[in-house]
């Protein structure tokens, strides 16, 4: 057992897979610098810098996957997926269905998401709800280094497109590149267990579509993912002091969703509080309510999400993103309601 950072865990698992399978290549903007360890280890034919042409290189990655490679295409920030949305929406997601299963798209789209470090509305989005909405795509959002490495391995093994989303607050590499720029005067509210943690010496795939219970609770079930898991755990500790026992479910996958774990945990407490950093409306948070209702559950519902375009001013940014205070308030309100 070793201790790795979130970013290193992902690259370590990717490196393990690349060593075993020569068809896996990594392409994207500045990846040779951002993943210098992989670039030096595997060379420029397997780790390729692209021009700033997301539509072209993501579209190319889809077809390269169809033709026998197993590409990992990196879209620097998920916000930029807008530029290349067609490649995912109309091609990656549909080729298998259109060809009656004869053509597969074993593509991993690796992308950084999330906010809380002052990068503004076009650089801090989550968008996993938007992506999970499209049939034919899988979307995973790890919250710890161990999960990140395991999910990367599972994503690489799947013969279908997976969007692998790395929250920037958990990634010291992204924060360094985009946020602090190495300035000592800048610091962020970073969840320690998400940034660095235990990791196996040899990676095993972590099944996609399986949530995990991070904390047991009897009064309330907080359903969340990514950095939300850590905010929820912090909020649960505070709620405990007020006599409220809150459990925390880490979804790990947006699509496919682990309906079974969701229904079991919410069924137990009768209260679902969703903490979802993505936009509130027409989102994952609503989907979770639908999933529980379809499971014939009777439950109280609340959600803490991002309700508007993310502001640039730091105080406004902190209020807009799901913070511990908002979660605690929502939890107390839900329990008080009965």
């Amino acid at each position: 057992m070793r201790h790795l950072s979130f970013s290193d865990a992902i690259d370590d698992a990717l490196g393990q897979a690349m060593a075993a399978d020569p068809r896996i290549i990594l392409l994207g903007e500045d990846v040779q610098g951002l993943h210098a360890g992989l670039f030096v280890r595997f060379g420029r034919r397997r780790v390729r810098n692209t021009p700033i042409s997301e539509a072209a290189f993501l579209g190319a990655a889809v077809a390269a996957a169809m033709a026998g490679l197993r590409p990992v295409a990196e879209i620097m920030l998920v916000d930029f997926i807008g530029v290349a949305a067609d490649a995912l929406l109309n091609h990656a997601a549909k080729v298998e269905a259109f060809s009656g299963g004869r053509w597969r798209v074993p593509l991993v789209v690796r992308t950084a998401c999330g906010g809380g470090y002052g990068d503004g509305g076009q650089h801090e989005q989550s968008l996993w709800g938007w992506l999970g909405h499209i049939p034919g795509l899988s979307v995973v959002v790890p919250s710890t280094p161990a999960d990140a490495g395991g999910l990367m391995l599972a994503s690489l093994a799947l013969d279908a497109p997976v969007i692998f989303m790395e929250h920037k607050l958990l990634s010291s590499r992204w924060l360094d590149f985009l946020g602090s720029g190495g300035r000592d005067t800048v610091s962020y509210d970073i969840p320690a267990e998400g940034v660095r943690g235990p990791a196996p010496d040899v990676w095993e795939p972590l099944p996609i579509g399986k949530a995990t219970v991070r904390r047991g609770g009897s009064d309330l079930t907080i359903v969340t993912l990514g950095v939300g898991v850590h905010r929820a755990l912090e909020a649960a500790a505070i709620l405990e002091r007020s006599g409220i026992s809150a459990g925390v479910v880490d979804l790990r996958s947006v699509s496919p969703l682990d309906q079974e774990t969701l229904r079991r945990e919410v069924g137990r407490t009768g209260r679902m509080l969703v903490v979802d950093e993505d936009y509130e409306r027409f989102a994952l948070s609503g989907e979770l309510a639908a999933a529980a209702l379809e499971g014939d559950l009777n439950f109280k519902y609340g959600r803490v999400c991002t309700r508007s375009t993310i502001p640039y001013a730091p105080e406004l940014e902190q209020e807009t993103l799901p913070n511990v205070e908002r979660i605690v308030r929502a939890g107390k309100k839900m329990v008080g309601e009965t």
Partner: protein, 247 residues
């Protein structure tokens, strides 16, 4: 990143290439509502490879829109050297869209001014869009805290964070043959050196212009500078006292 001035019809975006469609749209509105006006798009040469920008150049050409596309070529697409990201020649590329294209030393105000006059005149006269390729120098990297610059400025910090993973990659079992690994390591070092040289060679155009003005007319220079300082003071005061601002 998101500076907006509706009164001046000025906007910016964090999405690389977005100035293309924006300038074309502003020009379209101008062509209909304010004939004789012109719109200007600023972008780096890395952005020249973005689909939306190339589409904008084509659209401006076929609709003969009054747009000046200003490409600031500093030789870097973020941390990727331009020669490994940009195919062909950008002037030729612009001309291939059917538009007039000029090349200028972007670090010299006295060169940019006449080139801009030509470009703006051409666009205003309804003759179609113009492309200006302005050679520049990348003084502070793509963004504050640029990784490549950092390796030169903070070698000890970079040793742990950046150099060490490369050393590990060099020796880790399972990967490319030695020759390829060394080629990658060399490429990284070359990029760091190139950035360092760019930074050393590139003098700040503002500083140069200031020196030239000081030699020519020191009184006028100090008048201009105090006027600028006054304007900045006013803007800051207004911003700090506006609602929603801290302190």
């Amino acid at each position: 990143m998101h500076l907006f001035a509706p009164e001046k019809l000025a906007a910016s975006s964090g999405i690389v290439g977005a100035s293309g469609p924006a300038a074309v749209g502003l020009a379209l509105a101008g062509q209909v509502l304010r004939p004789g006006t012109v719109s200007v798009a600023f972008f780096g040469e890395g952005a020249a490879n973005a689909g939306m920008l190339m589409e904008s150049m084509n659209l401006a050409s076929v609709w003969k829109l009054p747009v000046v596309f200003v490409c600031k070529d500093n030789g870097w697409a973020i941390t990727t050297p331009a020669d490994s990201a940009t195919g062909g020649n950008l002037l030729a590329r612009a001309r291939a869209f059917g538009m007039k294209a000029l090349e200028v030393d972007g670090t010299a105000v006295e060169a940019v001014w006449p080139a801009a006059e030509i470009a703006l005149g051409h666009a205003r006269a309804g003759l179609g869009p113009v492309f200006i390729l302005a050679r520049c120098v990348h003084i502070e990297g793509h963004l504050l805290g640029d990784a490549l610059l950092d390796m030169v400025r903070r070698p000890a910090y970079s040793l742990r964070k950046r150099t060490w993973p490369m050393v590990r990659g060099l020796f880790k079992r399972g990967g490319a043959p030695w020759g390829e690994r060394l080629a990658s390591a060399r490429q990284m070092l070359e990029a760091v050196f190139r950035v360092h040289i760019d930074k050393a060679a590139g003098s700040d155009p503002l500083a140069r212009t200031r020196r030239a003005l000081a030699a020519e007319d020191a009184t006028r220079l100090s008048g201009l500078e105090s006027e600028i300082r006054g304007k900045i003071r006013d803007i800051v005061t207004r911003a700090m006292s506006s609602p929603g601002s801290p302190g």
